[in-house]
Symmetry: C2
Subunit: 340 residues, 2 copies
């Protein structure tokens, strides 16, 4: 766990002013080699080949993160990860993040610094930088908005609409771990000091719980795998709202039916099943409907599965049923929907 003492006070950001906060975090922000002008002017300036991709996500305290569960470093990592996953899901190379933060008085200067460090570490790991931002007061909780930019370097983007009948449905990354972590925190079984003693005495189960909690706090989507595979993929998304709902989106955008095979998803269920007794939903539900691991679901020719991906189903012609499992239409809530 990271230093949680930093979450509150030390220096109130509102006493520092925007320039003061920027001075406090400037050394953790490193620019990417393709950056011509980093933070500090009206805009960042980036050298690109093009086409350029852009995506934005807003994280709201109490809605997307809880300070009792996540350190500011975790929150920064998470904000970066989910946006970088969107860029990689297009097959693009992430080049820059620009970050807006609305901060209440309790968000200390050190809070901002830790969050910026989480953002910058994740960006740097994939060759991007934090190239600009805006800091302002919030009258509610903390709000973080991250916009990620990427460079396709002359390649065609991998869209949701490219799935073809006969394709394999493939996946890279984990499913259900973030949801499992969330349910552990939400039930009070996972705490800032780790899994509650009374939850279980089995060491492998405890380690699995810690791993799921870590994915919930800050997912680790396999960005390099997705970007490296892009040339072979016909369609791709990162799984943010659950495998079922995101497969539905590919189905509708591509005009196809997405047919999942439960035996091919069994390894994902088996991975999180040891925590079933500590969770309120089944392993199968967490794998199928839990989002936010930001795995990559894609489709490609069945004889050209890219490295790091594995098959979980097949693309069939449109049948009125967007998503099925073992030929049974998927019913009930398909997964998480924002605002819903």
């Amino acid at each position: 766990m990271r230093p949680r003492a930093l979450v509150r006070s030390i220096v109130d950001a509102s006493e520092l002013g925007e320039d003061g906060v920027l001075a406090l975090i400037s050394d953790v922000l490193t620019s990417a080699p393709t950056t011509i002008v980093g933070p500090g002017d009206d805009c960042a300036v980036l050298e690109v080949t093009g086409p350029v991709v852009a995506t934005t996500d807003v994280l709201v305290e109490g809605e997307h993160f809880v300070q009792d569960w996540s350190s500011p470093y975790d929150i920064g990592e998470r904000a970066a990860a989910q946006n970088l996953a969107d860029v990689a899901a297009m097959g693009a190379h992430p080049s820059a993040l620009v970050v807006g933060m609305a901060l209440p008085g309790h968000a200390a200067g050190e809070w901002v610094r830790e969050c910026a460090r989480g953002l910058a570490d994740r960006a740097r790991a994939i060759g991007a930088g934090i190239e600009g931002g805006d800091l302002t007061r919030s009258r509610g909780g903390i709000v973080i908005s991250v916009t990620a930019l990427g460079d396709l370097r002359g390649r065609t983007p991998v869209l949701r609409s490219g799935a073809r009948v006969g394709d394999a449905i493939v996946i890279a990354g984990t499913l259900g771990m973030s949801r499992t972590g969330f349910e552990l925190y939400d039930a009070g079984r996972m705490t800032p000091t780790g899994l509650a003693e009374e939850a279980t005495s089995e060491k492998p189960v405890r380690e699995l719980a810690e791993a799921c909690a870590a994915v919930f706090r800050a997912p680790n989507p396999p960005l390099h795998t997705a970007i490296g595979a892009a040339a072979r993929l016909h369609a791709m998304m990162d799984v943010s709202d659950g495998l079922a709902r995101d497969c539905q989106r590919i189905a509708r955008a591509s005009g196809v039916s997405m047919c999942l095979d439960s035996t091919l998803l069994a390894p994902d269920c088996q991975r999180v099943a040891p925590l079933d007794e500590l969770c309120r939903s089944t392993a199968w539900s967490r794998v199928l409907r839990g989002g936010e691991d930001h795995a990559f679901v894609a489709t490609c020719a069945p004889d050209a599965i890219p490295t790091g991906f594995r098959i979980i189903g097949s693309v069939e012609s449109a049948s009125g049923i967007d998503v099925s499992v073992d030929s049974q239409p998927l019913t009930g809530p398909l997964g998480w929907e924002s605002l819903a």
Copy 2:
């Protein structure tokens, strides 16, 4: 004034879900010609020449806008305008906005639609589109984050650090009008139905008050003028935090002294002076320290003033004094600082 009845209720965004809200606003969002993929995939995809510029701003309800003063359309226009000004201040052509919104229950679907219309109208007027976004719940007030992207089309960016000794300081756009509008609202003299009857009976003063209030609600920076002039300018910023503070930023970035001439700023003072009796600060203070008109302050060779700009001072060698007026160092608060 625009339909203020739309501000509250009709359809609670939280009942529509993110897809429902997107469906409600999709017809007001038009993509730019350079957009390959607009909203609806993991990222927007833009065709660019490059280098690319990027900037982001966060607008917080109660901090940057007040619903009793501004319609959702105004708020959308304002959010777009201040980001588009940052792009133009680099000499770049705005190409896309991506928009994040955190919405409490009272932000109706129609509220989002009106705000999106304001954003889209301003983007379209300069050749850009709304190419992506994120909608989420807020537990506090409304938070809008806008990221603007622009294309330098092979040109060198105009930075804050480019001012040269011997340059003229030039400006395009208005100064002090936004601050004047704010003071009228803040004193209760300007209301949603216009200037209070008892404030003045003089028609020109009433019209001026309405004009200043409109600039406060949604500024109109001369974007085309700034972009068209870029090749002749050595340094440029949009005035967001007040002329004094923003000149200080140019002074420090360029290692020069910015020497303003009060006689050359007299027309700006004279424009807003008729409202002095209704404001709490002097015309001179509003012109020098009031930000958010998003005028463009720049420097260039004194014999090559671009069309649409006029001289307000000169760039001298660094003297330890960042900004002076009529050779007197500027003292006291230099202008608005976020978080301060």
